[in-house]
Amino acid sequence: MTEFILNGRLAAADFPPDMRLRDVLYKLGCTSVRDSDDHEGFTGSDIIIFNDRLRSSNLTLLYKAEGARIRTAESLRNGREINDVQQAMIKAGVVQSAYNSPTVALILTWLLEKKPDASREDVRQALSSVFIRDAGYEHFYLAVKLVQEMRAFGRYVTPVSPVFRDKLDYIGKPLDKSDGVSLVSGEPVYVEDKVDKDAYVLEVLRSPFAMAYIKSIDTSRAEALDGVEAVVTHLNCPDVYYMQAGQGYPEPSPYDRKMLNRKVRHVGDRVAAIVARDRETAEKAISLIQVEYEPVKPVFSVEDAMAEGASLVHNSFVEYVSGAPAGLDEYNRSYDERDGKVIYQFPLHGDVRRNIAAGAHGGIGDVQKAFDEADAVVEETYRTSQIQCTPLEPHVCYSRMENGRLVLHCSTQVPYHVRRIVAKVCQISENKVHVIKERVGGGYGSKQDILVEDLCGYCTWITGRPVYYRNTREEEFIANSTRHPMRITVKMSGKKDGTITGIYMDVRANTGPYGNHCLTVPMNASSKTLPLFAVKNMYYDLNTYYTNIPPAGAYQGYGAPKGYFAIMSCMDELAHKLGIDPLEMALKNVVDEGYMLDILKGLGEGRDGKVVPVGSCGVRQALLKGAEMIRWGVREESDDPDWAIGKGFAMIQQGSGLPGLDQANAQCKLLPDGSFVLLSGGADIGTGLDTISLKIVCEIMKVDPSRVTVVSGDTDSCLFDTGAYASSGTYFSGNASLNAVKDLKEKMLKEAALQLNERPEDLELIEPGAVRSLASGAELSYQSLIHEALSGTGRGAIIGTGSFATENSAIPYGAHFAQVAVNRKTGEVRVQKFYALQDAGTPINPELALCQMYGAAMKSIGHTLYEDMVLDENGKCISACFTDYGVPMISEAPEDFRAVLIDVDDQYGPFGAKSISEIATNGAAPAIANAIYDAVGARVRSWPITGEKILRAMGKL
């Protein structure tokens, strides 16, 4: 028994003395103390105050706590009241996916106890132990400032964001995030907190080979082990082909896998799944499984995959659900049955006999003629690397049976795709599956893929046992989705006056072992870049290759960050070649509202694209304002002659969901006391989507937020939504909520008209929740209204239903500017200034929008300069932990970091809103690369732009 003072009270922990203190504290109910790095001591999720000092509870064994005074974030809350630091964090907008929010609140509380006037540097030091992926780091300084202001003046002085739309009460104004209190307090709101004590564990035996056939597998000794419930291999798993990308059905990705396959295709691929009563038993069982492999020479790069005689990753039997090409029988003569099948839902221009998973081609005008007639042409190849999403909460699932149904507690961006795919692999109907999306501790695209729910759900279905699965951090690196590495060649031509006359993009993407998003992500390299240019001659070729690297998939921005790195770097190179200011060239060639986007015709992602004009567009304002802020054209001089300073920028765009493909639905109910519940199919992954729905109800129904509850992501209670990806949340799910609330309003007015004996058109809604007649002045409270409707003589419940599907686009635009200092002797780079300017239409949650811009830009800075998944010659990732991989911490944040919302109203978005966060991943790479060139004349065309590469580009190595 170990005794210590925990949050002011004596605690007696009856656990082994060598147990990690983190695990003990969690078991004692301190759910704020989390583990996101498998005790690497890196991310800070496990930090506590231990004898008045910060300490990693994961790197502390229980015996060490004897007699200690320990504080966790649970100490910050008094009953239902959170402390002023937690309040300020919510106000500042930093509580997003929030896996580390409680630990940050604890650290900042401790800091302000020690130093009430803590400076920016004090905050930076205090948060040096904490990795934040979602909100960047900038508004944490603001949160501390707000606390100091509240303590000094009794009110917040510094605005947390600008406000938008004066005539609206809630839209465009900061408002505490609806789940902020529970998240910042560390309440048990994540999947791991829902696991029953008697849950079984699932462990996966993974392939040590990058590519091999399983010649034999003997699981008999594992199955005989006491406590082992099931062992699943390719021999006994369902003969069901599917794919793990959570895309709308029918998916533009091939069904190229079963749950477990006879051929393993990457180091870390599934070989066997073991369900056991505890982890020790599962690990023992894994050690008892005997596997004989027949290795195949792997291919790792696009070049490897393209090479004559290269090993085939999927020498499979190819089928098409529709649109099968002629000669398919002949094509299939050479398949190897051990490779299984590849089933295309419709043609994607794949050719598995050449390792091509998908392809696309298209364009406008005559690029060759443009190149022939140009004053200058630049043709260069740019390479992007494999990047891990690194959500703090790894991929996790808890599945259990209830009343004959399979219930899955998930951390997912796509609850309805989870339901569909799990039902498919279990070979049951969707009504037998209930998916509950818990709070999501970071997704960034990787939780758009059904990477663990399929196996976990299946194991529960066959065993009837509650099963818990959670990726280790290493598994996050080797068996998860990542950014597709790409090789993009851009050829761009121009005239002496700065007019760009032609652009050609040759995109070669590496999808790894399976074809998740193999068309859509690489397509974005062109489809989200070319439409930004008012250029008459543009063409692209795209081919995506299978290889044996760890799996690729969705990551915030899809392929756009890669495309922008290439196209904006190339434009910078062309401008320099023509002797023109790159900003001038951008302004001369960027689209404006009304410009007809003929290029969209060939950018339909597997279908014909619809040509539309540019809608609301703030890119020109962003370029001009950003240039002014960074003093574009002014050469900055360093005090230290070793350091040179340079500036760069990128103009950017993204999308808001997938018009023509996505759909969202919502319902809004008037409760018996006149309050509201909105049921949204949308999946809030920490970004504040629920708060958007809440604000919509408040705005239209004229009620206080305390009278509105949003329930989302539950497939039983909520209606279908394609999910939170492709920047669809605000536009699609938000519009569905808006339509539901409008429908409810109409029904309420109709009912009120009957009750008041008036005409609906004479009625309006007024604060704080009543119907008023413009004709008679009569008022009817919502409570009275619904009470009558639900009475024995009433006309029934009043429910609004809304759906949203569209062919219209609401495209966000922007420009990112960077100022860097580069050491001429060592190649070191410091990002001195980074300004992200974006047109998000009407930012419904402006403070959250700013933090998402900081977070996304920070991710992109990381991809550009630091992060790197490095494989050895056998395909094993040798940077499969945070320290080796190199995510940016607060030390890497730009010294002067600003996010600016350009005020543009959109005609299609809810209240004029567009998407916000994905676009913010697009600018950093080209802006920084161009700034480095501006500083020292070194052009680095591959990620990450390391000091070593800069030195090589400068000819010093």
Binding site: D18, R53, L54, R55, K64, R473
Partner: protein, 236 residues
């Protein structure tokens, strides 16, 4: 369950280690308990924190630092020279700095060591305990011997030594490619994939691996190039 023994004295700790050859000492725990750390999970641990002094004191022209002092203790101490505070600050995480002891970090002798280069440059002396009892000697000797099984009890550095240092890593929290320090004693470096070197020539002539921190050519270039800047800093 992992065996944990809390030793009350150095003698007891040494005896325990002799009886349990596979056991490791633990104090702060940031290295021993860390994922991918140097100690396997099941290894028995001998906790030495009860008798390792965290004291830092100045005596005449020397500063004596107990092996139990944490990195942050050193940064916060008024008697510690700036060059050592800077080196302790190379450990970027405040929480780790508040937990990691200087003794543990020295004993690790990592090729990305935060402290070894500056301490070598300063001519630090170590107090250790081993099979010949308590010993005091040059850190350089300890490093050259690969640390041996002597336990670090503390170190002494000159109070007025001038040392300049530099650390090169992709991010503040990443492994360093090169950590180097210069003083009148010469240039000392810890080079990832190479080891700890006692001179420029030794580092440049060494067999250094290409790894995730950079190529051998890059690391040697940094050592060669940065030496000039460190000389300027030192002369200033």
């Amino acid at each position: 369950m992992r065996q944990i023994i809390s030793a009350k004295s150095m003698e007891e700790a040494y005896r325990l280690r002799r009886d349990l050859p596979e056991a490791r000492y633990v104090s702060g725990g940031t290295e021993v308990l860390r994922l991918n750390g140097s100690v396997p999970d099941a290894t028995a641990l001998i906790d030495v924190s009860a008798f390792l002094s965290p004291e830092i004191e100045k005596k005449h022209d020397a500063i004596i630092i107990g092996a139990g002092a944490t990195f942050q203790d050193i940064i916060d101490s008024p008697v510690i020279p700036l060059w050592l505070k800077e080196a302790c600050g190379y450990m970027s995480s405040l929480a780790l700095r508040m937990q990691a002891t200087i003794g543990g970090n020295i004993a690790r002798l990592g090729d990305d060591s935060y402290l070894i280069p500056v301490l070598l440059a300063a001519g630090a002396r170590l107090k250790t305990y081993g099979n010949r009892g308590m010993l005091e000697g040059e850190l350089s000797e300890y490093v050259r011997n690969g640390g041996s099984r002597y336990t670090v009890l503390g170190l002494t550095i000159p109070a007025d030594e001038a040392v300049s240092s530099a650390r090169f890593s992709r991010t503040a929290a990443s492994h360093s490619a090169v950590n180097m320090a210069l003083s009148k004693r010469g240039l000392f470096s810890a080079v990832k994939g190479g080891g700890i070197f006692f001179s420029l020539e030794e580092a440049l002539g060494a067999d250094i691996a290409d790894d995730i921190t950079g190529s051998a050519q890059y690391k040697k270039y940094l050592i060669r190039t940065e030496k000039e800047r460190l000389e300027e800093v030192l002369n200033d």
